[in-house]
């Protein structure tokens, strides 16, 4: 079946893990191959590829998790490692159900597998990005990255669940550096998702153009304002805000430990009635999509907040077990090196009913955000930040002068309760989300939103 690994060995390892007892055992095999190309200084200078092969073993004994991983896949050393982990339990051998392979609930089509595309064709994309991005005299440097990843996993657990999944992802990134009179500004764009080369094959010219235009425009932009103001976020700006403002706080591990402002709020109002938040791993092509999560639970669509009412947290097997419920298919890990924890997939605020242009027209003064970057949250007190990489002043209901990047800071439950207008549109962005040192690919989206009060961390007096 799999190189260096098969069902019989999985069964044997599960038995060894539960030899001294325990509630749950799991074997996770992974083979990832990747290729990346990097262009800078007009030169294709870094090309690399590689393969990562390894196995993670997990044993759960009441509330304790024992985890081990190795890239040494010799059966004897795997059994030795499983036996070492099993010492954590003290009791009679646990039961291992017969392994039964699950069918994937969804399949993501790959039209043009990246592994079958010539390296020269990938290189060509980077040259297109470079040429297109340099069509302005202020551009000093262009960096362009291409990467594709093919990940095969096999996960089997003592309850008899076994799942196989093959995930392919592709990503294209450009960063443009423009300079004028000693001032430097940058413009960044990325595209990609779960799928094949088709996801990036044609988008290069357009993304290079928008990155270039942003970098050049920011040279003449004034500094962002400082202080509290009304903020309108465009649908095209991406979804960093929802990811930080409520996504992380709805992950069950943080909730169960009482480390989230959303703990003990099930069924209660946590947001304006205009707000519905959904996590959906089954969306085709999105960066955070998967058929199975990294514990073999089928990816699914989970309504987290419905019309402002908290409906569900995001669970993996371990956190679900503590509440005697089913996993929501949010158990993810960055590789066999890490144990799975509750993570988002594609998280978004559902579209509303207002025309985005009406939202702008209805806003007398404030900040209009058209591109968001990264963010972070303190789930304990709910404070979150997100970066605005393209924004404009709103004056008398019209889009005014561009302003430079700034961080916006708010409090999750407070901001979501105050949202007073929700647009009909929606726009996805992709990113790599970090938690407990593990990075996983995610997608997120929001419609155009108006928030009456957010602190804008610029440097200009309001």
């Amino acid at each position: 079946m799999k190189r260096h690994f098969n069902e019989a060995l999985a069964q044997e390892l599960l038995g060894a893990l539960l030899a001294q007892g325990g509630d749950f055992a799991e074997v996770y095999w992974e083979h990832t191959s990747s290729q990346s190309l990097f262009l800078e200084g007009e030169k294709l200078e870094r090309l690399s590829g590689g393969e990562d092969l390894g196995l993670g073993l997990r044993l759960v004994v009441s509330d304790r998790t024992f985890y081990a991983h190795t890239s040494d896949l010799e059966p004897e050393s795997l059994l030795e490692l499983a036996t070492r982990l099993a010492r954590g339990a003290e009791g009679k051998p646990g039961q291992v159900e017969e392994l039964l392979l699950r069918e994937a609930p969804v399949r993501f089509g790959v039209r043009q597998p990246s592994s079958q595309v010539e390296t020269s064709e990938k290189a060509q994309l980077l040259h297109i990005l470079n040429q297109e991005a340099r069509q302005a005299p202020q551009v000093r440097q262009v960096t362009a990255n291409y990467g594709n990843v093919e990940q095969e996993i096999l996960v089997a657990n003592s309850r008899g669940f076994m799942a196989q999944d093959k995930r392919t992802r592709v990503r294209l990134v450009v960063n443009v550096i423009a300079e004028d009179q000693g001032k430097i500004q940058t413009g960044y764009e990325s595209i990609g998702g779960v799928g094949g080369f088709e996801l990036v094959a044609t988008g290069a010219p357009q993304m290079a153009q928008s990155a270039r235009e942003r970098a050049v425009m920011m040279l003449s932009a004034r500094s962002a304002p400082s202080g509290q103001m009304t903020v309108v976020m465009a649908g095209e700006a991406g979804g960093t805000m929802v990811h930080e403002a409520c996504g992380h706080g709805l992950e069950a591990d943080l909730v169960q430990k009482g480390l989230s402002v959303y703990a003990d709020k099930m069924g209660q109002r946590v947001a304006s009635s205009l707000i519905t938040v959904i996590d959906d791993a089954t969306l085709p092509g999105r960066y955070g999509s998967f058929a199975f999560d990294d514990e073999g639970t089928p990816g699914q669509r989970t309504v987290l907040i419905e019309n402002g009412i908290l409906k569900s947290y995001m669970y993996n097997l371990n956190t679900a077990r503590k509440e005697n419920r089913e996993s929501t298919g949010n158990g993810r890990r960055d590789s066999y090196r890490s144990r799975p924890i509750p993570r988002m997939s594609n998280t978004y605020i559902a579209s509303g009913e207002t025309d985005p242009e009406e939202i702008i027209a209805a806003t007398e003064n404030g900040l209009y955000v058209t591109k968001m970057g990264g963010g972070q949250v303190n789930t304990t007190n709910g404070d979150f930040v997100f970066e605005v990489t393209e924004g404009y002043l709103l004056q008398n209901g019209k889009i005014g002068a561009p302003v430079r990047g700034a961080t916006l800071i708010g409090n999750g439950p407070q901001v979501l309760s105050e949202v007073d207008l929700v647009g009909q549109d929606n726009g996805f962005s992709l990113g790599v989300c970090g938690k407990n040192g593990q990075g996983v690919p995610v997608g997120d989206a929001q419609p155009t939103l108006r928030i009456p009060n957010l602190v804008v961390g610029g440097t200009e007096g309001v």
């Binding site: 090309l47 690399s48 590829g49 024992f66 985890y67 430990k257 963010g375 800071i409 602190v455 961390g457």
Partner: protein, 442 residues
Amino acid sequence: MELLSLAKQVLSWAQDEELEIYLSQNETTRIEVSDLEVESSNISRSEGMGIRCLKDGRSGFAYTTVLTIGAAEGALSQARESSRFADQDLARSLPESQGETQVELSSDNDSLKLPMEEKIEFARRIERAARAKDSRVRKVRQAQYADTAYQLAIANSKGLATAHSGTFFTSSILAVAEDAGQAEMGWSYHFARELAKLDLESVGSEAAQRAVALLGAGSVQSAKVPVVLDPTVAAEFLGAFVSAFSAESVQKGKSLFAGLLGQQVASPLVTLVDDGTYPDGLSTAPVDDEGVPMQRTSVIREGRLDSFLFDTYTAHREEKNSTGNALRSSFRSTPSPGSTNLLISPGSQKPQALIGEIKQGLYVTDVMGMHTANPISGDFSVGASGLWIENGELARPVRSIAIAGNWRDLLLSITAVGDDLRWMGGIGAPTICIGEMSLSGQ
């Protein structure tokens, strides 16, 4: 050493090309405790190799986690294949041989073998100290103890062959304090190369103190005020802008310090040193990640820009010598210039004295969103929390505010440097005071 012999085997396959093999192997044990119960215990074994192939100035790279002859053959042919597509750059080359060396850094292998129960107890001690410090500390996200043994080997077809090994130990905790319906978080971290030097109790009590100090925090009015960064925050700032000192950033027009060598780029109070030989530093090693001996490099001397950080390639481009700053994030990546142990030299003022001189200002103990700072333009805007300074006293906790500015302006407007140097991994900084910064609040 086993790793070196595998490396030499691969080198023996070299054709008319230059080859470099980088091999690493490590084993880590990590214990996480919460409510004094073990939440997880992890054993991880990681190993892998990266192969660089250079021919006619074209460079290719491949890696694998499988340390067998067969996998090495596969990786080598992949690296060769990649190099065919790379654009030519004749400055690309591998470092010259320094002879064959094998070094064991200060290692504490005995402590690695301690029974699991003893290691669990270390993590519990961290949590107990946090709870003992203040009764308002009700939860911890994780009290963590970890130990690691690592081995590295690098060899190239110019005859370089070097290997080193060592150990390190870390302790950390995220503590949560609660009072009157409000919850705040505080964290702390320490590392050492020997277990005996690892802080446990003080890590717990510091995190508790940080969390408790923020209870009752509110916002403040937007203003331009003096800002004091505690050493952990100063180190985080320095870490975010390290790439500005990389020769690669300079050569590619991505550094705000390009063209400023010898000029005043910071307050005269600022001396910045990169020191790969710093005793017991996290990044201390006999050689960098392409086998060049690590050294001490003055980056900024009393405010004047002294040197950038070079690897072999960037040094070649300027006909200079590498400063021993080739770094890789792992065997999966090619080397490029970075900092080893980078520190802002401590000054002579006690942090309390430094705060005492400020009439009204902000003492920052935590920042959020530092990864959004732009190391190329130098612009930053981050969420901040800490304590409001009123007439030289820490008056009340504040959060939900942002501080913003530019890294270059920040360095130039440093008005005081504390005597309390503290290492956060490979970056060390004392308390620093910035004359004025934009603060956004209500």
